[in-house]
């Protein structure tokens, strides 16, 4: 139990430049505290997230992967998040199918105005990841 309390999940967060990254900026400006587990990678659009990124992040040992972008209808590139929704749905289903805990992958819509929501999304994700413990299933073993 105590081991789990000490365990800090490592999250890679793909944030769309226009909404979620700006939303996380707003969380910063508003000084809303949230766990430091997620390292952001800013991408132009959720539509630019290749499923390979997600597989790769897990392969490299991510405990959780977050993809966050603009609400449907708000995409800076109009349709990017629609395309992303489909792709992410498929990869999520696939991961779940082979027995990866569904809580390891998350997608959210966070607009530039939703600083608090951004903080909440990260907080919730980290809370959900903690009980799962370190992600070993897809992680490349360092020594063999």
């Amino acid at each position: 139990m105590s081991e789990q309390q000490n365990y800090e999940p490592r999250v890679v967060a793909f944030l769309c430049k226009w909404c979620s990254s700006a939303g996380s900026d707003l969380a910063g400006v508003s000084r809303i505290q949230y766990p430091a587990n997620a390292t952001p990678i800013t991408i132009p659009c959720t539509g630019a997230v290749s499923p390979m990124y997600i597989l790769s992040a897990f392969n490299k040992g991510a405990d959780g992967v977050l993809v966050s972008g603009c609400h449907i209808g708000d995409c800076h590139y109009i349709e990017g998040n629609f395309l992303a929704r489909r792709k992410m749905h498929l990869i999520m289903e696939l991961l779940e199918f082979i027995g990866v805990e569904p809580n390891r992958f998350r997608m959210s819509w966070v607009s530039a105005a939703e600083g608090a929501k951004f903080a909440q999304v990260i907080t919730d994700f980290v809370d959900d990841l903690k009980p799962l413990g370190p992600q070993e299933k897809l992680k490349k073993a360092e020594r063999a």
């Binding site: 490349k140 360092e142 020594r143 063999a144």
Partner: protein
């Protein structure tokens, strides 16, 4: 040393080999695979899907690890295989034949430490084939036989309710000694039965390579035969035929990086094979074996010509795996026969 083992007592023998890690074929996911066993071993398999070559030449071998902090020289740490001793039960004679062939590759010219370390720690308890276990077997054509003991340390022959156990090497004798009283002296009838079983096994009809002895020379002159391209037309360039083969040994060496700053990683060898289209491709994009025809020719010639020229024996042991498992029916027996057919 020749003994008799009650079939039901094989588990006890395995249990007695407590200095060794024992492996035997097990049926899993519809195929026979070598699996570690502690007690029960049933040796009623036709042959395993994968050959036992992985015991000495695993699919992935770590050579060494490296570590480097920016501005400092790298540190290398050699990683040799663990000195665990393995006994592999139920090795068919064709796979036994593969062992000396692999030995040749890995010790000729210079010795491969990783191979030799593993090799000296593996013993093979073979199982003679009372009848060729598969329709694709052709060991007799390539200098083998269903009862060959080459490469084995012990040979078992199935005599119904008991095995005829014969030591082939000193290691084999040691393994048999470990069995103690489980092994009993064979009676004359046993000897007679073994002989008969062996004779029948050899007499059993098999697929044939028409002129195995003439093959090296005939293949040599057929290098530019148009048949290669024609016969390889359906080949998909997968690794099945070579990965399953008991004597295919090609490999790749790559650096696997675990961390970039500081640099940490391992240099590893992995199986590779001549049927992969990128196998011989140069950095420039030039590929000496450009199409499936050239690659099929390499595989066949390696088995039946080059190896023979270098070591005086065919590299193929007639196990038939590449024939039965090829998804598109490319058949080394048919290929050799066809290419050599009309050559003088």
């Amino acid at each position: 040393m020749e003994k008799i083992l009650d079939k039901k007592r094989i588990d006890d023998w395995i249990a007695a080999l407590n200095d060794w890690e024992v492996h035997a074929p097990a049926l899993e996911d519809g195929i026979w695979t070598y699996k570690p066993v502690s007690g029960a071993a049933r040796l009623d398999h036709p042959n395993t899907r994968q050959s036992p070559k992985g015991f000495t030449f695993p699919q992935r071998e770590v050579y060494f690890s490296f570590e480097q902090i920016k501005g400092e020289p790298p540190k290398l740490t050699q990683i040799l295989p663990k000195e665990t001793r393995h006994v592999v039960f139920g090795v068919r004679p064709c796979d036994g034949k593969g062992v000396p062939r692999m030995d040749k590759v890995f010790t000729d010219h210079v010795e491969d430490t990783y191979y030799t370390t593993r090799r000296k720690n593996v013993a093979y308890v073979g199982l003679a084939c009372n009848k060729p276990p598969s329709a694709t077997c052709f060991c007799l054509s390539v200098g083998g036989s269903p009862v060959s003991t080459d490469g084995l340390d012990v040979q078992l022959t199935d005599l119904g309710d008991r095995y005829f156990v014969k030591a082939v090497t000193e290691t084999g004798k040691a393994l048999m000694k470990a069995a103690g009283s489980l092994l009993t002296e064979p009676a004359a009838a046993d000897q007679k039965q073994v002989k008969q079983v062996h004779t029948e096994a050899v007499a059993y009809p098999q697929r044939k390579i028409n002129d195995p002895d003439g093959a090296p020379a005939k293949l040599k002159v057929s290098f530019n035969s148009p048949l290669w391209d024609e016969m390889a037309r359906a080949c998909i360039g997968c690794g099945i035929c070579t990965f399953l083969c008991p004597t295919c040994h090609c490999f790749d060496i790559n650096d696997e990086v675990h961390s970039k700053a500081p640099l940490q990683g391992q240099r590893v060898r992995t199986w590779d094979n001549c049927q992969f289209p990128d196998f011989t491709m140069h950095s420039s994009g030039h590929n000496p074996r450009e199409n499936t025809g050239a690659r099929l020719r390499q595989r066949v010639n390696h088995k039946f010509q080059y190896f023979h020229e270098n070591f005086g024996m065919h590299q193929c042991t007639g196990c038939g795996r590449c024939v039965s498992e090829c998804p598109v029916g490319i058949d080394i027996v048919a290929v050799v026969n066809k290419v050599t057919e009309n050559v003088g």
